[in-house]
């Protein structure tokens, strides 16, 4: 298959060998599970259970709200202990509403789960989408965007290719690699179902060249299907970004503020495809995921299939605990992953990696002045000018940063990685993006206030006019009454 070059990028030390050859192991059902209501992009789920309820495995715990949301299901059977605020696996360390489930140790499935769809290729796209939505599937590559919303793109746009993302360009992470090696047929079946839902004729599986074993196994599994092409892509971070992968495969660059779907390509992660397979073929909701536990501080790094809601501290103990002092815990990969407030937080759907990094791996250095070497400009995979953007953001000229295209930054962190002066460039861009979004929200809020104030004025004017009309009518009536009375008085002989 002909490949196209992508702009910029970096070649970090991949450190995948620590877990790449380790088969996925299942983590036993923990005593307690903590299921946060917001594990996805969009509106948080709304709980349908309360403290004291007994639930079975796979039973609905919280339903999705609005167009972009995802439901949550019980990962095992047991009793709902509470619905309360628990620290979220989020860099802010803020609490969020979480369902606490105490396991009864029986792990009994609910008996009202939907039946498997025997022949998904005879089912309508709506039927399949409804099943994926029911299962609470979100993008398992890390973005956690609700999958059914992405599968709906086929109804609005003409999609010709489903691009299955097995690039896994983040260092340390090997969970996608392992899933492709161990569940190749499930992944491809899920991909075929997704392609059918999207109306896409072609499926391309893209795997970085540092995973030759996964490439071989996937190519083998894809042999019976002429419409599936398995291709290697060069090892170049951030190849796994959906825009960049699309460019590498099709040669087309996704325009700013557009989707890859506008080019006729929809990108899904390989683990998401496996979850779709389970939901459609087995009628099972998304209850677990494979996560890479790695980093220099972990005794025995592993790939673990774990129930959503398991505390990270239990997973670290399962990996033999910490051998060295961890300077930082990271949710995801070391490039784009976010720092965790600690290990007392649960595994969520979008968590692809849990890294315990030592001080030497974190390699924190004080920032020096910019020497204007221009390396960040050369390596920016989005064609932006990090040096200029950071300079204007430092002076809080956010409108200028927006003009320079900060909203088109994908936060891949290549610029921060390469900067010889250790300037936290991507931190500036994340700050600017957050501020610009906050300003946008503020603007919408003020518009709402204005609308409400105008509605009130209109109401008051209407009420005043009605009052005036009533007063005028009353005065007229009084005048008429007086007039008729006076005529009566003036009548002679009265």
């Amino acid at each position: 298959m002909k490949l196209f070059p992508i702009r910029g990028g970096i070649h970090p030390d991949y450190r995948k060998e620590r877990t790449a050859e380790k088969a996925i192991v299942a983590f036993p059902v923990p005593a307690k599970l903590y299921i946060p209501l917001q594990q996805h992009i969009g509106a948080p789920a709304e709980p349908v259970v309360q403290a004291g309820d007994l639930v079975k495995k796979g039973q609905l715990l919280a339903k999705g709200q609005g167009a972009v949301s995802a439901p949550n299901h019980a990962p095992t059977s047991g009793r709902i202990e509470a619905v309360m605020e628990v620290t979220a696996p989020h860099p802010s360390g803020l609490p969020q509403l979480t369902i606490v489930l105490e396991s009864d140790g029986k792990d009994e499935w609910a008996n009202d789960l939907p039946a498997p769809i025997a022949d998904p290729f005879a089912a309508t796209p709506d039927e399949l989408r409804a099943r994926v939505a029911w299962a609470g599937i979100v993008g398992l590559g890390g973005a956690a965007f609700p999958t059914p919303v992405k599968l709906n793109l086929g109804s609005q746009l003409k999609i010709h290719t489903l691009l299955l993302n097995g690039a896994e360009c983040e260092p340390y992470l090997t969970c996608d690699d392992r899933v492709m090696r161990e569940y190749a047929s499930d992944v491809l079946d899920g991909a075929r179902i997704m392609a059918h839902t999207l109306g896409a004729a072609k499926i391309v599986v893209a795997i970085e060249d540092n995973k030759p074993e996964a490439q071989r196994i996937m190519a083998e599994a894809a042999k019976p299907f002429p419409n599936i092409a398995v291709t290697g892509v060069p090892v170049q971070y951030p190849m796994g970004s959906e825009r960049h992968l699309t460019q590498a495969i099709t040669g087309l660059e996704t325009p700013a503020r557009k989707l890859t779907a506008d080019l006729g390509v929809v990108v899904h992660n390989v683990m998401t495809a496996r979850a779709v397979h389970k939901a459609v073929r087995e009628g099972k909701p998304l209850l677990s995921r494979v996560v890479t536990v790695s980093g220099g501080a972990v005794s025995e790094p592993k790939n673990i299939e774990v129930l959503i809601g398991t505390k990270l501290s239990e997973l670290i103990s399962f990996c033999g605990g910490l051998a060295k002092e961890a300077k930082r815990f990271v949710n995801g990969g070391p490039m784009m992953g976010q720092p965790l407030p600690g290990l007392d937080v649960p595994v969520v759907k979008g968590m692809s990696g849990i890294l315990a990094l030592t001080a030497s791996e974190v390699n924190e250095q004080p920032a020096n002045p910019c020497i204007r070497c221009g390396t960040c400009v050369t390596i920016c995979p989005c064609g932006l000018v990090p040096v200029e953007m950071a300079a204007v953001i430092r002076k809080d000229h956010l409108d200028q940063a927006a003009h320079l295209g900060v909203m088109d930054c994908v936060s891949c962190g290549s610029c921060s990685y390469i900067c010889p002066s250790h300037i936290p460039l991507v931190h500036y861009f994340n700050y600017a993006k957050g501020m610009l979004n906050a300003q946008d929200r503020e603007k919408r809020r003020l518009e709402r206030v204005k609308t409400l104030a105008e509605a009130r004025n209109a109401r008051l004017e209407k009420a005043a006019a009605a009052k005036k009309a009533a007063a005028a009518a009353a005065a007229k009536k009084a005048a008429e009454a007086a007039a008729s009375q006076s005529t009566a008085e003036n009548r002679p002989g009265a």
Binding site: P12, Q38, A88, H90, P91, S92, L94, Q96, V362, N363, E364, Q365, P366, A367, I393, D396, G413, S416, Y417, C419, H422, I423, P424, L425, H427, Y428, N430, Y431, K433, G434, M435, N437, A438, Q439, R441, E442, K443, R445, L446, R448, V449, K450, L452, A453, E454, A455, R456, N457, R459
Partner: protein
């Protein structure tokens, strides 16, 4: 040739005169700057700036009598927009950036006097005479007018909490380290 020059000259003079007369007769009395400034303000008519409403504040701004920092609900973004429009530098020192608040009614203290209902500029309070009142949290814009008028101090102002969806990264401090 002469005829052409003459006729164009006569037409020019006549049309020019017409335009001049129209400009005098049909002049807009409203200050266009005032209208533009009013469009920038939140329009909540809350009166926290010290003027009766947004219109009066905009008029004072246009005359250069009022500071651009007086609008509390507008916040930093409105101040910056006003300063840019008027070509002045906003002195942010005398503007206290308060985090957004909303009002809540303490149900045990409310006597149902309806005074706050009349004050609310966005109709965010529901209630009836001698019935307990309540405030629609999503619609309240935190102008404190109800808080100030309540005779039983039943209204409290609560800061809108930072949530997972509203939180964002802070600005890197100078000298803060890069990580790789």
């Amino acid at each position: 040739m002469l005829l052409a020059i003459g006729s164009v000259a006569v037409m020019g003079a006549a049309l020019g005169g017409l335009l001049g007369a129209a400009a005098k007769l049909l002049a807009v009395e409203e200050n266009p700057l005032e209208v533009e400034l009013l469009a920038m303000l939140p329009g909540a008519q809350c009166g926290q700036c010290g003027y009766v409403g947004c219109g009066q504040y905009a008029a004072a701004l246009a005359k250069g009598e009022a500071p651009v920092t007086a609008c509390a609900p507008g916040g930093k973004s409105v101040i910056e927009a006003l300063a840019k429009k008027l070509g002045v530098t906003a002195d942010m020192d005398d503007h206290e950036e308060e985090s957004l608040q909303y009002a809540v009614v303490d149900e045990s203290l409310c006597i149902g006097c309806m005074r706050c209902l009349a004050e609310c500029s966005v109709d965010a309070i529901v209630g009836a005479a001698k019935q307990m009142h309540t405030i629609i949290k999503q619609e309240c814009h935190g102008c404190k007018k109800c808080f100030n008028i309540c005779p039983t101090e039943a209204i409290k102002m609560v800061t809108v909490p930072v949530t997972l969806s509203s939180w964002h990264w802070h600005k890197p401090q100078s000298g803060e380290g890069a990580v790789h």
